[in-house]
Structure formats: C-alpha cells, structure tokens
Symmetry: C2
Subunit: 583 residues, 2 copies
C-alpha cells in the first residue's frame, strides 16, 4: 500500500500542476508501463483525454490541438519504440514552435540496458529536438520530492510556452505494481491549488534601439514588409499599422494569417508568388529595404528575389531568437517580439505615407488577381489551383483550412486571395513533412468548426492511420483529397527533365482506391469529376457531421502545363501595365 500511495500522490501532484498550468488536453496511447499516469489523467475532472493507438498519429494530433488552441497539449505513451514514434511530430513542433508536453513512461533504472523487454534508452531520447528534457525520480513520498515534482510540472509547461514555444520531454521511470489509488480522489482541486506560478517575459527593445532601426529606413520609399509563417493574435493589426506608417506593401504568406480577417487588406499583397515568377518583373520591383517577420514564406520566387539583392537593408525580426535567415541576407537580426516591434516602430513614426511604390504594387497585385480569376473561371479541367479558389467561395465565415505540404500549400499560396471571412489557415510548416498532416488537422478540428483539410494523395496515405481519431472521437472534418496519383511536386522540379527512373522514384503512383480508406473509418466519400459535383460535395460535407472525404482526381502533367501557362499570361499582363505605366 505504501508503494501505491507513493505512486498515486507523486503522479497526481504532477498532473494537478500541469492542469493548473493550463494543460487540459492529453492524447494517450495504450500501454502497460504508463498505466498509472493514464488512469490518473482519466480521473482528473478537468482533463480531456483522447485515445490514439498509433503514437505517431497521437503526437501529430496533439500538435494540431496545441497549434489550434495556441496553448500546450500533452501526449502520454508507454516505454520502448512507442516513444520513438513521437519523433516526427516532435521535430516538427520544435521548428514550428508548437508547445507540447511529451510524457513517457520508462522502465526503472534496474531494468535499463540489461536486456529487459520493451526498454530502450529514453534519456534525451529526442536529442536537441526538444527544448528541455527531465528525467524524473522513481515515485516516492517526501515533501521535497513532491515540491520538486510540482515545480517540474510547472516548469515543463513554462518551457513549452516560452518563445520560441516548443516540445519538452519528461520521462517517468515506474516500478510495478502500476495501479494507482483512485478512491478517494487523489486530487485536491481547490482553486489556487497551483503551487508554482510562472510569468513569461518577452524580448523587447528600448526606445533608443527602435530609433536606431528607424534611422536607416528614413528616406527609403521602396520597402517591403514580408510576413511568413506567424500565428499570433493581434499581429495582423500591428503590422498593418506599421505598413501604413512606412508606406510599404505587406507581402503576406497564407500562414501569416494576414490573408483573411476582419481588418482592411488594402496594403496586403497576396500574389507576389505569381508576380515574381518573371525574372524581369522581379528585377523591376527590386526593393531597397525589407523587413521580414516569421518563418520563411513558402514562395520560391520570393526567396529568389530576396536572395538576389545583397545591397539592401534587410531586417529580420524574431521574437523566438531563431536566427531565421536561410538566405544569409540579413543586415539586421532583431531579437524582439514581433507584435511589440511593430507597435513600438509605428509609435515612433508619425505620418502615414502614400507612395508611387505602394500604388504600383497594389495595381500589379490587382491585375494579377484578375488575370488568375479570369483564367481559372474558364478552366474546365479539375485543376489543383482551381480547387482552392472554388473551395474558398463556399467556405463559411470563421472556417479553418488545414493545408497539406508539398503542392497544396503552394496552391494556397498562389490561388488563395485576401478575404474578410476570417478564415484561419493552418499547416505544418516547420519541417514541411508530408507526414502527420491528417492527424494534425484532426487535432485542430477538436475546437475548430468547420474544418477543411486540403491534402495530396501521398500525404493522405502517409497518415491514413490518423483517421481512426475521427471515428473514435466523433470529430468533424472535411477532407479535400487531391489525388494526382503520386508526388505532384516533382513535376515542378529539375528531375522532371530526367525521364529515366522519374516515375519510379518521384512519380510513385500508388493506384489506391481511397474509397476503401474512407469506408474503413466510417467516413462519407465522394469522388468528383467536374466542378458542379465538387460544389455539391462541399455543400454536403458542410451539412454532414463526421468524416467526409471529397476526392478530386487530377492530372500531374496537365496541372504543370496549366499553371505555367497561367503564369506566362500573368507576366504578360503585368509587363503591359509596367510598360504603359512607364510610357
């Protein structure tokens, strides 16, 4: 009984402290060694648990949950390879700055590295891919130990949340027997039961430092604000205020959350990817200063443009101290909270600026939007870009769209235009893997409705196991499955010109009939061959609850051709404008 009492008090203390630190969502994978933690989590009245049998999917599910909620979610698994399955989601969470509390049960010290079953070395299991690792002591009773347990719990949550947010790993060696006491409840649950209150500071600049940054910007008309992956409430308003003061257009990646919202989008440029496709146009639009926020935007033409000019002011602002400058073009690396930076800068800049530069940008952006819309309206084929445009038309206000990597995120970049429906775009743009996307979207769907996932067939396949969560937890998700039967992105890359081995290594057609996958998880399934069918299927998906899969068969080659043709026409229209403009 002493063992059980120690086990229970110790683990209940930990759980109580993470819960009062704000962790209420826990994704649990079944296992034996983790039994007491799992049972106590089930027992805590404030904890929502999600059983997920495949640990890889479980961790991505938690990632999606945490990303959507903008606060930490936890995962729990047993010892052994179970824990290794968390690795992809952890690597993604680290780079995309998603707070995760990773709890792993472990064999106690005497069963490590001695050939005991289901024992792998779990110390620092995820290496540098977690922000913090703590090995817990074997459960015991004692005032100091319990204070340590509570402090560690609070600390884990704090480390996960502190910018840059990310995953932390706590490893629990547990001895048998593994059954905790449940009656009477081991939780005290009084208000104010939280032992250690944590307060999170942010990186901020002094007025002087801000002044020094404004100085070189003075007199520069041709500036660009580039917003990459960033998801902070209030950032949109702050950066738009700064842009007004500077008179710089805001090039907004779809994951900057600037392409949709209840704010004015006048200065937002959403077509730079298509605009910069033409090198001559890109050269004409050479900026003299760039202020960049967030992770690198998805657009390759933008990247190439930024890399072109070594002789301009290039300010990178990062509240997470991440040194995010893959181009090595930064002239100023500013470690400062992004929202604070914008507000401080805007506060010191008095006038609102109007400029030819800004006007030209807006015109080019408008022309590009019109051209793309005109071409796509006439498109009869099931074009992957048009899928984005047609879907957006049907989205209700406050929808969430989770976007797969590889082609879908690029199509969103090109074809998703500013709107005021307050749509939230989400994606796993840390390591940009095609893995775990289904589970991440399902995690996000817990508190986001309606939620659409746009995903390619290979990425859908990669995390098909994730769909079990939809069935087990009665989640509502509408999956637009773009099936080009293989790896569509490679058709846009240099290897497409090397026909030898191309289809085997990169095309990789799987010829899967995904209707079986939808049926396996009790999902509704529709395959659409034309745009009328597509609209009906999306409407029905919006009406029905549960898992809806709308499969859109597309053709990799036609898709590349159509997009190249469209970009040529965009370039032509912009050139005409620029020539007229200059004449």
């Amino acid at each position: 009984m002493k063992h059980q009492e120690g086990l229970t008090t110790y683990l209940a203390s930990f759980i109580e402290e993470i819960v009062s630190s704000g962790v209420t969502e826990v994704v649990i994978s079944p296992g034996s060694r983790s039994t007491p933690i799992a049972m106590l989590l089930m027992e805590h009245p404030k904890v929502h648990t999600y059983i997920n049998i495949d640990e890889r999917s479980a961790a991505f599910f938690a990632l999606g949950l945490a990303k959507q909620m903008r606060r930490p979610a936890a995962v729990l698994c047993t010892s052994g390879t179970a824990a290794a399955n968390y690795f992809p989601a952890i690597a993604e969470a680290r780079i995309s700055r998603v707070p995760l509390i990773v709890l792993t049960a472990d064999r106690p010290h005497e069963l490590r590295e001695v050939g005991a079953p289901q024992a792998i070395d779990q110390l620092h299991l995820y290496g540098k891919h977690v922000k913090w690792f703590a090995e817990m002591p074997v459960p015991e009773i004692g005032e100091e130990v319990l204070r340590f347990v509570k402090a560690t719990a609070a600390r884990a949550v704090s480390h996960a949340e502190q910018a840059p947010a990310g995953p932390v790993h706590i490893n629990f060696p547990l001895r048998e027997p593994l059954i905790p006491r449940l009656e009477p409840s081991p939780f005290s649950l009084e208000e104010g039961a939280k032992r250690l209150n944590t307060v999170q500071g942010k990186l901020m600049l002094s007025e002087e430092e801000i002044k020094d940054l404004i100085e070189p910007l003075k007199g520069i008309e041709k500036g660009l604000i580039v917003c990459g992956v960033i998801d902070e409430p209030g950032f949109a308003e702050a950066v738009l205020m700064l842009s007004k003061k500077l008179g710089y257009p805001v090039l907004a990646d779809p994951l900057s959350q600037l392409r949709s919202g209840f704010f004015q989008g006048d200065d937002i440029i959403d077509n730079y990817d298509s605009i910069f496709k033409d090198a001559k146009i890109a050269a004409e639009l050479k900026p003299e200063a760039v202020i960049r926020f967030g992770g690198m935007p998805v657009s390759k033409p933008l990247t190439l443009l930024l890399k072109e000019h070594d002789d301009i002011l290039h300010i990178v602002v990062d509240g997470g101290n991440g040194w995010r400058d893959p181009l090595k073009m930064a002239t100023h690396m500013v470690n400062c909270d992004e929202k604070a930076f914008c507000m401080q800068m805007a506060g010191q800049l008095n006038e609102v600026k109007e400029s030819n530069w800004l006007h030209k940008w807006k015109e080019i952006n408008r022309i590009t939007t019109e051209t793309i819309i005109n071409i796509m309206e006439a498109e009869q084929n099931m074009d992957e870009g048009k899928v984005v445009m047609e879907l957006v038309k049907q989205l209700p206000e406050n929808s969430t769209v989770f976007v797969g990597n590889s082609m879908p995120i690029r199509d969103i970049d090109t074809f998703y235009h500013f709107n005021q429906k307050n749509i939230r775009i989400m994606a796993n743009r840390g390591a940009n893997g095609i893995d775990g996307v289904v589970s991440s979207a399902l995690g996000a769907s817990v508190y986001a409705e309606p939620l659409f996932l746009i995903i390619g067939d290979l990425s859908f396949f990669h995390d098909m196991n994730g769909l079990l969560a939809a069935k087990m937890h009665h989640l509502n998700i509408n999956i637009i499955l773009i099936n080009n039967n293989g790896g569509g992105i490679f058709s846009f890359l240099p290897q497409a010109k090397e026909p030898k081995h191309f289809e085997t290594l990169f095309g990789t057609p799987t010829d899967l009939n995904f209707e079986h996958a939808a049926r396996l998880y009790d999902g509704r399934y529709a395959k659409v061959q034309n745009w009328d069918d597509f609209h009906s299927a999306v409407s029905q998906a919006l009406e029905w609850k549960g898992l809806n899969v709308v499969e859109v068969p597309t053709n990799r080659n036609l898709n590349v051709q159509a997009h190249r043709k469209m970009w040529n026409q965009v370039s032509q229209e912009i050139s005409d404008y620029l020539n007229g403009d200059e004449a």
Copy 2:
C-alpha cells in the same frame, strides 16, 4: 558540370563500396534532397530497390529484409521529418541486433538552423540508438576525399555487421543542383573493385577460461540450458551437442530457432511456460545451474523462476557483449560468441550424460504437450492458442512464420511445439513494439516463401500502411489477423481487475472492418468463424499469390478463461506425475 561530376563520382564511389561490401537491398522513400543517391542506386545493376512511401514502414521493411537475409539492408530518405520516421525501426534494430545502413540526405551546412525549409538537425539524429554515426563532407572531387568516402562505406557495413549487429547512420549534406550524371555509367563494376576489405573477429575464450567455467558445473546434475532470442545458423547443433554432454535439458524460446529443424529435438523443452505457471511445480524443478544464451525468453513464468533462486550458478553467454541480465542473477557474465562457446565447452567435456533430472523434464514436457493437445483438439471456439496449433499443422516445410508482439508471440510460446519442418520463426523482440510488424514481415517475405504473419488487430492497424509494399512490389504474404477488437494482453495483466477506465484505456476497441483495409491494397480477404473455414482459408492462402488476409475474430474474455483453465489442467497432470514419480 564540375558540380555534377563531383556529386556523381563521390556518391557512386560510396554506393559501389557498400554494394561490394554486400549491401544489395535498399529501401527508398521518395524525396527531393536524396535525388542523386536514389537515382544512382536505381542505376547500379546489382542493387535491388524497393520504393516505400511511408518512411516508418520503409525502415521496418528493411529491418525485416536484413533479419531474414542475416546481412545488412539499407534505407534512404530525404531531409527533415522523413528521417525522424525511421526512429522506431532503428531503436528496434539496435536492441534486436539487426544490421541496417541508414542513409539520410541533408541540407548543406549553410542551410542548417537558419529557418530553411525541410531542415531539422540530423547530426546524431538517432542518438545512442545507432552503433555509429558519420557526417559526410559535401561532395567534392579529390583523391583523399574519394578514399575517405569508400572507407566510410566499407566501415559502415562492417560496423553494422560486427557483433552485436545493429544500425549505423550516414548523413549526406547535398547542394543543388541534385541531378547526377547517368551516362556513361558512373560505376566501374570490375570484379575486385572493392577498396577496403574488412574482416570481422568474434569474441572467443581461451582453453583455460573454458576449463574454469566447466569446473563449477562438474557434479551439478540439475542444470538448465536456456535459449532465448538467437538466430545464428549452426547454433542449434552446437548447443544440442553441449546439452548432450552436460545432460541438461534445453529450454528453447520459439525465437531460439530450436523448436524446428532437421536436428533431433529429444532434449528440447518447449512447454516450460505452461509448466512453470504452477509455483509449486516450479519450486520442485528448481535448478542448481543455468546457462543462458540470447535475449530474454518471452515466458514470464520462466523469468519468475530464474529470479527466484539467488543461490545457484547462473552463466550468461553473450557474443555481443550486451550484459543481458535484467534479473541481475548472473554469477558469470561470459562475453563470448555463443556457438564457439558451445563447441569449446562440448569439446572439453568427454562423456554424454544421462540423468534422472533430464528424464523427469522430458516426461513432464511430454505430459504437458499431450494435455495441451487434448484440450485444444476439443476446443470449438476460435481460441487464439488453437490458431497457432491449427496453422502449424498446415505449414509446408521451410515456411517462415513472422509473429506479432503482445499476444501472438506468447501464444506461439505456449502452443508451438517442436517439429522437424524446419520452420523459421521471426519477430521483433528487441523493444517488443506492436509497431512496424506488418512491414517487417513484408521485408522478410521478399526472400522467404511461404511466409505467414500472425498478428493481433492493434498491431495490424499500427502498420497498415506497410501493406502498400505488398501491392507495389508484388509480395506474397499470408496474414492471420487475430481480431479480438483491442488490446488482448491487458486482460492478462493486473489492470484487468480495475474495471474503471479499463475498456477505454486498455481494451481500446477500434471496431474496424478490416476487409476495407485488405481491399485497399488489392488483397484477398476471408473472415473465418470456425475451424473448417480456417483450414480452407489457409489452404487457399497457400495457393494464391499476393496479399492474403485471414481474419479470425476472437473474444478477449473467453480467451483468458480458456487459457487459465488449460494451465490448471496442465498443472494437475504434472502434479499427478510428480506425486506418482516420488511415490
């Protein structure tokens, strides 16, 4: 062109050297950064490539291949979370001593930790879970560099093979453009092209050291030889020779490969799991000496018996220097190749010993087999143990049976008896995960036919993606899917007595109709409700090529009850014999 030439010569040298070191099987996952390695591997006439889209499955597929062939297989993937997906299979390979060559493409140094896309920190990515890690230089031409590349290739294979065999990781930073030259062929391919020849030594004892180990065994009649997980050709013959000389019975785990073969099985005890279930009988069979080989046997009653007796000679022999003594009962830790140990010991022992002890063991084992057979022959329900017995009846000579973890491996332990069909039993008994089992079996199936996989529903679900390999590579596999709709093993564990949360946390019924899964991968599917159906389905599976899924619905509760009842009767029969024997 200089870049392409450097890239090509450098990578072709590496590939040529691993191939001439014996690596011919490479599992490739599609990706961009890995393009030149993938294309060159496809181009090498001696390399067999297997495309596998899900990297987690890919690595387990390679593990199964390597395990079956008893030589290294390689995997290749692109940068980012792709590589993290290899982690579970790598952790398993490390503990179960399977040689794997893990090749990962990486971003070059200037794109690391600067927010570049698809870049995670891949240096020492798998931590202590690989035997060796090497970071390669960025490809360049130069005599010393090329010698280094070839030496690293040979070294990687050697490290992977050297006891204890295991995974090694080689990371290749590659710069764009990523297309190698294919014409003319970059491979020289002359016989003898191998640059660095490696010679693997084994741990061996001197005659004196052997003599010192024989000394304390002299005069001990009640000895046991315990063979756990070990898969070395010739070991069976060697250990049986030793057992004859010592007069000790050989307690053989199913993964010792001692339960089937063309050798005599007189001294092999295959029922110790059932025998030791009764504590009183176990006490009566207390040994005075134990010699143990291989990884820990699956049997918990055996483990408990071995842990009971601190006052006996306990010799652990391990050619991989693994300190495999989770019980902490060893009196002698012998770091010596197991086969060499047996042969040296047997060589110094002159007579063949007969003893009452050995006679008693054989009788008890015989009685147990008879009892189990009698009970199971009468069983009408779809009992999980009986599945093993009925399947074995139908297995052709030289079949391979891959066994899932959790319940199937325990059922094999209890219900699989010595036979001379030369059946090879395989399982992932390093970390004992339920993950990756389908892929491991499919990897094994490449060169093993017929191959049966016995697997539970949760484990089958966990690696369902692995089935794509069956479809894409036209593999032949017969899957006996034991569907008890959840985690059957937990019904045998203490938490089964705690009904609160049990079904949610441990039972975890998924209610999946697996026919959809079989159909998704173009597999044949049969659900069997009685033994006649079962036999027909197995016969048909043996005739048909491709993927066959035979689903056996079972009942977790009935299964526990039936097995407990059977063990009670076994104990009764043995007690009767022992009482009569002693009378």
